[in-house]
Subunit: 230 residues, 3 copies
């Protein structure tokens, strides 16, 4: 599953027509994370390490992709499944969705999910989830920042598509530059972050689509993007 | 506007009677950020760079001022206007206020606003705003930490003044020391932060107003501040 | 009080039967922080420094303990008392609880509490509390991440015990490894954090209780923990 998801995420990465990726699931579970049967002693430490490496590679890929990745959650997201939600750029959930890190119940603390979760929600919320394994509701996930929007189940796809379509109206290289810069600056000091982003603003203005956007604005017309990297 | 605001912020900075600054606006817009017409090719890269430098200087000034800066928001705050709200120490908004980073619509990703926004609200909320350009409401801004209070439009000024008056009852050098220390420690490791602030607590106790405050407390009387830097 | 609390926290630290610690108070105040009378000039700078050192030692101890520490708050938590709540792993509050950092009123800015508070709630909320000294309600504390649950006063103990009992059902060394790793990774870069936690997951799988947990899961039975460090 990790390899299949990885492949799906990158296989059209250079296609100009790829503008946004939505990760959704069929059935009542968004993702329940790793298959614990792969973690029995018989599979061996090397295989275990491979699984975690594949998982981290997937999380890193999501952040380095030039297009936004949206998690469309309708149901339960647990352990590495909760990590996947936390690791996406945007997450929309239906009201019935729940989020948990229950590894502690099977003696395997959700330490890798904690990396993403601990950067998405307040420390106390993360630790209560990690120590108890108990789920939080979609509305709690919204209040605490794990998802950015909660809607009814019947509106979930429409709301996700609304956001996706909005993103498709923007210039691909502008979104790509903005996304890469966001993740780069967010771990820097305020001074370094402002120094970096000022340079990026100038770089953005020199893009063909940067110039077109400003020109269209001053001419009170809709911009026509080239989506060119120049 | 940036230069005028910069000048207003600093021109009485050493006056002991300056105790708090409130940034407010007339009309339905708090601030819509940069004038995009300054970003056309004809103005040239050097001018563009000057604009971003002035903007960063303003944001840095707000944090380094010895008095708290309150954003009193009644209406729309977009792009660098949203950054201004995120960059103030405190922000109070009326219920009708909205916050957005819509640069993506004109091909200029709000990368500098993202520095302040990404440090004020959860990552997913920031990225949805940045990728779609869509506004969030005042109540969403409160839930996600962009503002610290939301009140009705008719109570906005009274509520802001209540906070401002409360700050005016404190000792200026105590507030100045506390503010400078807060921003210094917040980016440090927990250990370094505690080491720094322990020293600052001792320094604070040696201030004339630090001693007066403790003495007044033990004598069950109101303190009389000298506002002296000694 | 700091020394007594410190002693209570560590005196059974190596006892396998110690699985969770709850900090609660009798009476209408959870903790009002330092005794300001200890900060008069007559006590001298060395004594003042000793007080802050003891306070920081306590906060550090809470994070380094191998078991979760829960603050059960029923009433007012101010200054270093608010810091204590912010410094615990989990915090449950009754609806009547309030949280404040009012040092500014007595000329002693809550700079050490600000370390914990500023890492628990959004910057604007922290600064409004620090600059005005005004309290926030339990529901505001929940919304902003200072506590992870708010319940009615009569349900407070039952709710806290429910969480504590859930934690007692887990393996002590698994919880200990997870807690230590959480605090270690949270201040690292995303890359370093994932590198560290992948190794920790493998280490966790090699624990006796890690193997037992996975085995019990595949055999569809309840795990029986040894709580052994091996």
């Amino acid at each position: 599953m990790l390899q299949s998801l990885q492949k799906d995420l990158v296989h059209e990465v250079d296609d100009k027509d790829l503008r946004v990726i939505v990760i959704a699931a069929n059935g009542p579970v968004f993702s329940s994370g790793h298959n614990l049967k792969e973690f029995t002693v018989v599979h061996g430490k090397t295989n275990h390490a491979d699984v975690f490496d594949a998982c981290i590679k997937l999380m890193t890929t999501i952040q380095t992709l030039p297009v936004p990745v949206i998690a469309q959650v309708n149901g339960l997201a647990t352990a590495a499944g909760c990590q996947l939600v936390a690791g996406c750029d945007i997450a929309i959930a239906s009201e019935k969705s729940k989020f948990a890190t229950p590894g502690v119940n099977v003696g395997l603390f959700c330490s890798t999910p904690a990396v993403a979760l601990g950067r998405a929600v307040p420390k106390k919320v993360a630790l209560e989830m990690l120590f108890t394994g108990e789920p939080i509701s979609a509305h709690e996930a919204l209040m605490h920042g794990l998802v950015s929007k909660v809607v009814s189940e019947e509106n979930l796809e429409a709301e996700t598509m609304k956001i996706a379509h909005k993103i498709c109206q923007a210039s691909r290289p502008v979104i790509a530059l903005g996304k890469a810069t966001f993740y780069k600056q967010i771990s820097q000091s305020l001074e370094d972050a402002y120094r970096l982003t000022s340079q990026v603003m100038l770089q953005n203005l020199e893009l063909k689509d940067g110039q077109e956007g400003i020109e269209a604005f001053t001419q009170k017309r809709k911009p026509v993007w080239t989506n060119s990297l120049e």
